[in-house]
C-alpha cells in the first residue's frame, strides 16, 4: 500500500474546511494539531476548553506576556488579537448553544451512520474518560472526526454496525483519516478524497462499512486559501444601516434595566424611524424611565421603549416590569394594553434572565422554584425535586437583539460599564442577529482579554453611538 498521511497533513486537510469568521472547537489528540496549521492572524477563532477563545500556538520569543493559557492537549498556548479568556461553563454554553461552527474530535471509532465512540481502554471496561468529546460531538454545527483509518491491529476504525453504547449519535459530518476523506450523507458514507497513490478499492479494503464510490475521486491536496480571506467586518456606519433586515413581525430583545444606562438609544430611535411593525419585544421594562424617571438624572426625559409603542410598532411584550409602579401615572404601554392593542407575557426577572441564558446556551428548558404556586406557574408543569416545588420554564430566543455596550473591538468583543451590563450581556448570545451600540470601537487586541464579558462570537454588528447623540429628549 502507498504511504499514509502524516498527522500534520491530516491537520492541514481539516484546517482547509475552515471559513473566515468561524469559531472552531478542537479536541485533544489529532484535532489539537490543527492549531499548528492555522496561521497566526488567520480569520478564525480556535476554542480550547482550557479557557482560551481565539488561541494560537505561541510564536518564538512570545508567550511570556498575556494570560497563562492551556490548549486542548494541555500545552501552553497564547491568545490572538481576537482572543478572550472563558470559563468551562462558557465553553459548554458556546457549544451547546450552536455558536461553534466546527468541532473537531478524535474518536476511537466512527460508524457509517455518523455515530462515534470516544476514548476508552480495553483494560478497564466500564470506565471511560469522555472529557470533552461528548460535548464537542453534540455541540459543533459541523463535526469533523479525525482518526487513523485502522487500529494498531489493522482492524477498521470506520465500521458499519451501530454501537450499542455511543458517545455521539449521527453527529459526524466529515471523517478525515490517514488515507481518505469521507462524508456522512443520509446515514451512509461517501468517499470524497484519497491520499496520494491510494485507490478507491484500497480504501474500501480497509473500511468496515460500505463506501459509496464518488462521482469524482480527488486526491487529498488541502488548500488554506480561505484562511487568507479577511473575515467579514462587523462595524456598521450607523443605526439605520445595521437594521435594514429587521422585518415586520420580528422578535427583538432590547435592553436597559429600566433607566437610560445600558440602553441602545440610537438603535431604538433607528428602529422607530424604520417603522417596522408587529414586533415582539423582550425586555426588562417596556418603558418606565420617562414615566417615573427611573435611573434618570433629575430634569431629564429619557428615550425608552415607549417610542416604539407610541408609534404602533409593538404587538407583544415579554417583560418583567411592564407598567408604571404608579397606577395613576400609566405608561404608554399600559394604555395600549388596556385598549387591547398589545399582548403581554409577564415573566419574573430572574426567570427572564435564565430563559435568555438558556436560549443562548442550548438549554431547552429548566425547572425553577420562582413562581411555583403562583399565577406565573399556572399552565406550566410543576414538579417536586428534592422536596421543593419547581415549575418548568422554556428557553427564549429572538431574531434580533439591540443592546448597549461600552467598548467593542473590531471583532465584536464587548465590555460594559457598571450596572449597565445587566440584561445586555445575557441577551447577546440568545438572538440570531446581535447588534451592539457602543461608545467606542477600538482595534483588535486593545481590550484586556480577561475583561471581555461578551466575546465577539456572539456579536454580529457594531454601531458607534453618534457623537453628540443624547439619550434624552
Amino acid at each position: 500500500m502507498p504511504p499514509r498521511l502524516d498527522e500534520l497533513t491530516m491537520a492541514r486537510r481539516a484546517a482547509s474546511e475552515l471559513q473566515p469568521g468561524q469559531v472552531v472547537a478542537l479536541g485533544s489528540g489529532l484535532p489539537a494539531r490543527v492549531a499548528e496549521i492555522v496561521p497566526s492572524g488567520a480569520p478564525v477563532q480556535l476554542l480550547s476548553d482550557g479557557g482560551a477563545l481565539g488561541y494560537k500556538l505561541p510564536d518564538n520569543g512570545e508567550g511570556a506576556s498575556g494570560p497563562s493559557l492551556c490548549g486542548p492537549n494541555g500545552v501552553s498556548v497564547a491568545l490572538g488579537k481576537d482572543g478572550s479568556v472563558v470559563g468551562t461553563a462558557d465553553w459548554a454554553a458556546m457549544l451547546r448553544g450552536g455558536h461553534v461552527d466546527i468541532a473537531i474530535v478524535q474518536p476511537a471509532r466512527v460508524s457509517a451512520a455518523g455515530d462515534l465512540l470516544g476514548w476508552t481502554t480495553a483494560a478497564t471496561p466500564g470506565l471511560f474518560a469522555p472529557g470533552r468529546t461528548v460535548d464537542l460531538a453534540a455541540g459543533g454545527r459541523k463535526l469533523i472526526a479525525m482518526l487513523p483509518h485502522t487500529s494498531s491491529d489493522n482492524s477498521p476504525n470506520i465500521v458499519t454496525e451501530s454501537f450499542p453504547v455511543a458517545d455521539g449519535r449521527g453527529c459526524v459530518d466529515i471523517i478525515i483519516t490517514d488515507i481518505a476523506v469521507m462524508r456522512v450523507e443520509d446515514g451512509a458514507l461517501v468517499l470524497a478524497e484519497v491520499a496520494p497513490g491510494w485507490s478507491y478499492d484500497d480504501v474500501v479494503s480497509l473500511t468496515g462499512a460500505p463506501l459509496a464510490p464518488p462521482g469524482d475521486l480527488k486526491e487529498i491536496a488541502p488548500s488554506l486559501e480561505s484562511l487568507n480571506i479577511e473575515r467579514p467586518g462587523k462595524v456598521f456606519p450607523d443605526g439605520p444601516s445595521a437594521i435594514t433586515d429587521l422585518h415586520d413581525g420580528a422578535t427583538v430583545m432590547i435592553d436597559g434595566f429600566g433607566g437610560p444606562g445600558g440602553m441602545a438609544h440610537h438603535l431604538l430611535v433607528s428602529l422607530r424611524d424604520r417603522g417596522t411593525r408587529g414586533l415582539t419585544i423582550i425586555s426588562n421594562t417596556i418603558g418606565i424611565a420617562r414615566i417615573v424617571n427611573f435611573g434618570t438624572p433629575a430634569g431629564k426625559l429619557a428615550i425608552d421603549h415607549s417610542i416604539l409603542v407610541e408609534n404602533g410598532q409593538v404587538a407583544k411584550a415579554i417583560a418583567t416590569y411592564p407598567v408604571s409602579p404608579s397606577a395613576s401615572r400609566p405608561s404608554t404601554f399600559e394604555l395600549a394594553y388596556r385598549r387591547g392593542e398589545v399582548e403581554l407575557e409577564l415573566v419574573p426577572q430572574g426567570t427572564l434572565a435564565e430563559r435568555l441564558r438558556a436560549g443562548g446556551a442550548g438549554i431547552y428548558a429548566f425547572y425553577t422554584p420562582t413562581g411555583a404556586g403562583t399565577l406565573i406557574g399556572e399552565g406550566k408543569e410543576s414538579r417536586v425535586i428534592d422536596g421543593k416545588d419547581y415549575i418548568l420554564e422554556q428557553a427564549l430566543t429572538a431574531d434580533f437583539c439591540l443592546i448597549r455596550g461600552h467598548k467593542a473591538d473590531t471583532l465584536g468583543n464587548i465590555v460594559y460599564k457598571g450596572t449597565s451590563r445587566n440584561f445586555n450581556a445575557v441577551m447577546a448570545p440568545s438572538a440570531r442577529v446581535t447588534i451592539v451600540e457602543v461608545d467606542e470601537v477600538v482595534g483588535a487586541g486593545e481590550l484586556d482579554p480577561e475583561l471581555i464579558v461578551t466575546p465577539g462570537m456572539y456579536v454580529d454588528r457594531l454601531v458607534v453611538r453618534p457623537e453628540g447623540f443624547s439619550p434624552y429628549e
Binding site: F257, G258, G259, P260, G261, G262, N284, A289, V292, N293, F294, G295, T296, P297, A298, T320, Y321, P322, V323, P325, A327, E334, Y337, L344, L346, V347, P348, Q349, G350, T351, L352, A353, E354, L356, R357, T368, P369, T370, G371, A372, G373, T374, L375, I376, D389, H406, Y416, K417, G418, T419, S420, R421, N422, F423, N424, A425, V426, V453, P471
Partner: protein
C-alpha cells in the same frame, strides 16, 4: 379608639428589621421601608448589599452632582462608587438570589398570610402588575423578612389568614415586622412575638386578619 393611637414611624420599623440582619451577611433590600433598613445597621456590624441591577457591595446613594446612569440600584437610584464593589450581569445576579447565596431579603407587601405566603406584586383591581425580582427573591433568598405598615390605607388588615391578592411566593416569609408588631409565620399559625409600645395584644389582634398565637415570651418591640 385604637385608630387614634400612635404607630411606630417607618424608621423604627426599619431599625427593628436591621437587628435581624446577620453580621457579614448578603442582603437585598426592596423598595419602601426596606430601603431605610440600611440606615440602621448596628455599629461594628457589616452587611453587604446585593442589587438586582447587577452590583454587589453597594453603598450609599450618590449626590445629585455625581449621578452616573451606569451606576444604579434596582430602584433606579444612583449609587456612589465604593471600594469592594463587583459588577455582574442579571443572570449572575439572580443565580445569587435563587441559588441561596443571598442571606436575607427585606420586602414590602400588600398582604402576608399566617403561613408566610407573600403578595406584593399586583393589586387585583389594577389587573396588571410588575413582578421584577420579587418572585425570585421570595423563592430564593435564605430568609424573607417583610417590613410594612400593619394595615392598608383604609385600615384593612394586610396580615391575613389567606392572601386574596395574587401571591408572589408560598410560605416564604419568615418574619413580619410592621408598625405595630413583630410576627412569625409558622406551620401552626402566626406567632405574635413583639408589640409596639403602648399597644395591647388585643388591639393588635383587632387590626390583624389572622388569628395570632401569643408567644410565651411576648415582649415590647425590642430595638
Amino acid at each position: 379608639m385604637v385608630e387614634e393611637k400612635e404607630r411606630l414611624p417607618r424608621e423604627v420599623v426599619a431599625m427593628r428589621v436591621a437587628k435581624e440582619l446577620p453580621d457579614g451577611g448578603f442582603v437585598n433590600l426592596g423598595i419602601g421601608i426596606p430601603t431605610l433598613v440600611s440606615n440602621f445597621i448596628p455599629d461594628g456590624s457589616v452587611v453587604f448589599y446585593h442589587s438586582e441591577s447587577g452590583v454587589l457591595n453597594c453603598g450609599p446613594l450618590a449626590e445629585e452632582d455625581e449621578q452616573d446612569i451606569d451606576l444604579i440600584n434596582a430602584g433606579g437610584q444612583f449609587l456612589q462608587m465604593v471600594p469592594g464593589m463587583a459588577f455582574f450581569s442579571t443572570v449572575d445576579g439572580f443565580a445569587m438570589i435563587r441559588g441561596g447565596h443571598v442571606d436575607v431579603t427585606v420586602l414590602g407587601a400588600h398582604q402576608v398570610s399566617a403561613t408566610g405566603d407573600l403578595a406584593n406584586w399586583m393589586l387585583p383591581e389594577r389587573g396588571v402588575g410588575n413582578i421584577g425580582g420579587a418572585m425570585d427573591l421570595a423563592a430564593g433568598a435564605k430568609q424573607v423578612i417583610v417590613a410594612m405598615e400593619h394595615t392598608d390605607r383604609s385600615d384593612g388588615p394586610k396580615v391575613v389568614e389567606e392572601c386574596s391578592y395574587p401571591i408572589t411566593g408560598k410560605g416564604c416569609v419568615s418574619l413580619i415586622v410592621t408598625d405595630l408588631a413583630v410576627m412569625q409565620p409558622t406551620p401552626e399559625g402566626l406567632v405574635l412575638k413583639e408589640v409596639a409600645p403602648g399597644w395591647t395584644v388585643e388591639e393588635v389582634q383587632g387590626l390583624t386578619g389572622a388569628k395570632l398565637i401569643i408567644s410565651p415570651d411576648i415582649k415590647e418591640y425590642e430595638l
